[in-house]
Amino acid sequence: MKRFATLYEAIDRTTSTNAKVAALVEYFRSAPPADAAWAVYFLTGRRLKRLVPSAALREWAEMLTGVPEWLFGECYAAVGDGAELVALLLDALPHDEVEFDLPLASWVEDRLLPLAKTDIAGQRANVMRWWRVLPRTERFLLNKLLTGEFRVGVAQTLVVRALAEAAAIETTTVAARLMGDWTPSDDWFATVLAPATGGADASQPYPFFLASPLEDPLETLGARSDWFVEWKWDGIRAQLIRRAGQTWLWSRGEELITLRFPEIAAAATHLPDGTVLDGEVLAFREARPLPFSALQQRIGRQRQLAQIMRAVPVVFMAYDVLEQDGRDLRAEPLCVRRAALMQCVPHAGVLRMSSEVNEPTWDALATLRAESRARRVEGFILKRLSSPYGVGRKRGDWWKWKIDPLTIDAVLIYAQPGSGRRASLLTDYTFGVWDGDQLVPIAKAYSGLSNAEIDELDRWIRRHTRDRHGPVRVVEPVHVFELGFEAIAPSTRHRSGIAVRFPRMLRWRRDKGVSEADTLEALKRLMG
């Protein structure tokens, strides 16, 4: 694990992406392939299935260090990361035993994975022994692997860049090889670095191509006739694969979600073999999507599926065809791919095509866009008719032209420390609106303030805390913020009776007093 720890330190000790990539390249070239395979696995955000109960590390650390549970909680508020917190506390223990270094792959395969089949006493004995022998960084990494929160400040795109550089192949080839389900091994790592050829795992999706937010005026896009326009649906972006007589549905988060949407899988059996569609999973009824919160019920729940399938019907709204008859169409222009899509996907049914919006001018589109909220869509997607299907978020060919968010003025009522890099700063805010003479919480938001504003607010909150419930501070209701959000829906889970989607802070309204904040009633009127 030493070599992996050295890689981690090299990545962690610089904010330069080039330096990070250089460290990764060096590691991928020199590490044993099985180790490198596991390193890719962890660095790209994959995690081991839970090996020990989630509270176990904390309990064992409390046992070893004598830190009481409440104090552990205080420390958590300062650190914001359980694995790191345990590692910091363990520094108090003598580090008086050593053992020979084991490669990362042996650590994972011979020590960590078998934990799942070990009883709790055995788990505890093992983990405590490893804590004693491992140096500081490796102890921290062990905790990270055990808790599964392996975020170390390196984006997947950097790992892809480094692998491509180490193997002297295209980043798209590497990205495709990293998608889907794979088991880390020396053989697998060899296939990642292999020179590009055809032949891939049948389940493997393509990397998604993403639209960028449209910031410049429409006129900069040129002629309307160069563009294909469709609604921006608000669901789960997904890829539907029909190959070798089987079906796979992948979310953009590279999660296999086939089993959660059996009706989509059933409809896909009618697709010709060798078809890959890009589209959106939507909760849909009577020609209109249901609010996103309805779809969330389908994401969360796997039991009582039949019942929830009736309550929340879904469709797969196809945008694009990436593969037809086993042939990769991504380099073809969009107009060619749309024609191919029309051949295999109908306009109605569980599997349906996202229809083109035909308004002939940018002005006409702008007028129609005003209906977005009523149609439960987020605006338009604009795609250049000549565009290939690219990789990642590459600007220029695909734009999302979203509607402006709904806004309200709300009062800051609670604050608590953020996690990760925001630990020790109070950056998780809860906002309330008036219900009679009470402020009821309606949204939590974390983003939208500058670092200077975060610092200022942090200092203010610390001096104006009225009450504390664990890490949550009740603050004096003084500051008003303009919040933006995408949608609002009824909710039985929230005290206010409503749930807002994607809330974020747009502005600190220093010019407004709390009495000028919005009311719950006004908020409910925004519900579509």
Binding site: W70, L71, A92, R459, R462, H464, D467
Partner: protein, 337 residues
């Protein structure tokens, strides 16, 4: 013996304040940091080794001094100063009246520091302790190993022709680092202008430091590509930063113990070097004082007070006008219910 007032800690029997936040008649000063030594009081008393720096910070002030360990009577109270190990001349204040002894720690640390006399435990009945880093996650490595890390970082950057920009507090931390680097530095260490004056005051007070050179107007780029530069954190985000383009940045502070704090501020490196006591030192020191009552102030005072109370000590938290060195004057809220 001491009460907590809006102006700060007040000793009625001697009619003086300790580290008052607002102008008073007589102020006893534990050390020269701006959250402890405020301007405007009529008379100041500090430990003798701290006088030069205090006068540098408060040029208008009437400063009297007292040697460490020497006792004077102020009103009914016998007063003495004892080394606190925080920065040059930092002192704990011992107060004795009718057999009862109080000690106000000010800020303190137990780790070695070539610029400050080592902390001296003083037996007392009531101990007022700081709690800046009073959580068990805060434990410090020996300073020598942190200095080694800094030197290694500088050397690697130098070989890559990349400036090493180390942020640290202007008063205390910077000079501690300069004193530690005296044996290691192969060329003068460059100083941001804001650090030059107080560094000179340290030399005037007789403290040996590594050679330094104030960065002259117009110096930038190539001239600093192999240099170690010390600068206050407030220089970040200012045009001054253009003088050290592409620098590797680091911050020397106990705060750097937590990875998320370093990453939130986007420092390449964090060197865990603090002028405050870590958790084991706080607990050890409190035990050594033999105090049965401990009043806790600054930082994580609630946590330390509760921890001590669970171990049978009488405790309370004292409010402070300051949260660390943020330097704003609004008072802390009352402790939560």
């Amino acid at each position: 013996m001491i009460t907590d007032t809006p102006r700060g800690l007040f000793c009625e029997a001697g009619n003086f304040y300790i580290d008052p936040w607002q102008p008073v008649g007589r102020a006893l000063i534990t050390h020269a940091h701006s959250d402890h030594a405020r301007p405007g009081s009529d008379a100041y008393l500090c430990a003798a080794p701290g006088a030069t720096v205090l006068r540098h910070r408060l040029p208008e002030a009437r400063v009297e001094t007292l040697q460490y360990g020497a006792t004077i009577a102020i009103g009914d109270v016998r007063v003495s100063f004892h080394p606190a190990g925080h920065i040059v001349g930092s002192a704990q204040v011992r107060l004795e009246r009718a057999g009862e002894v109080w000690v106000v720690s000010g800020d303190y640390k137990r780790a070695a520091d070539p610029t400050a006399a080592p902390f001296e435990p003083v037996r007392c009945h009531t101990f007022i302790t700081e709690a800046t880093f009073a959580l068990p996650i805060y434990t410090w490595d020996p300073p020598a190993s942190v200095i080694d890390e800094i030197v290694t970082w500088w050397r690697l950057n130098r070989d890559a022709e990349q400036p090493s920009l180390l942020f640290c507090y202007v008063l205390g931390k910077a000079q501690r680092i300069l004193a530690e680097l005296r044996e290691h530095a192969w060329e003068p260490i460059r100083l941001h202008g804001a650090m030059a004056g107080v560094t000179d005051a340290y030399r005037e007070a007789g403290i040996a430091l590594a050679a330094t050179e104030r960065i002259a107007e117009g110096t930038r780029g190539k001239a600093l590509s192999r240099a170690l530069v010390l600068a206050p954190i407030s220089a970040r985000g200012t045009p001054w930063m253009r003088r050290v383009p592409n620098a590797s940045t680091a911050f020397a502070s106990g705060l750097m113990r937590v990875r998320g704090v370093r990453r939130q501020r986007a420092f390449d490196r964090g060197f865990v070097l603090s002028d405050h006591a870590d958790w084991p030192s706080l607990l050890g020191t409190i035990e050594e004082t033999g105090a049965s009552r401990v009043l806790v102030t600054h930082g994580w005072s609630d946590a330390l007070a509760r921890f001590l109370a669970e171990r049978g000590l009488e405790t309370a938290t004292l409010r402070t006008a300051f949260e660390g060195e943020a330097g704003e004057l609004a008072p802390e809220p009352e402790p939560a219910a």
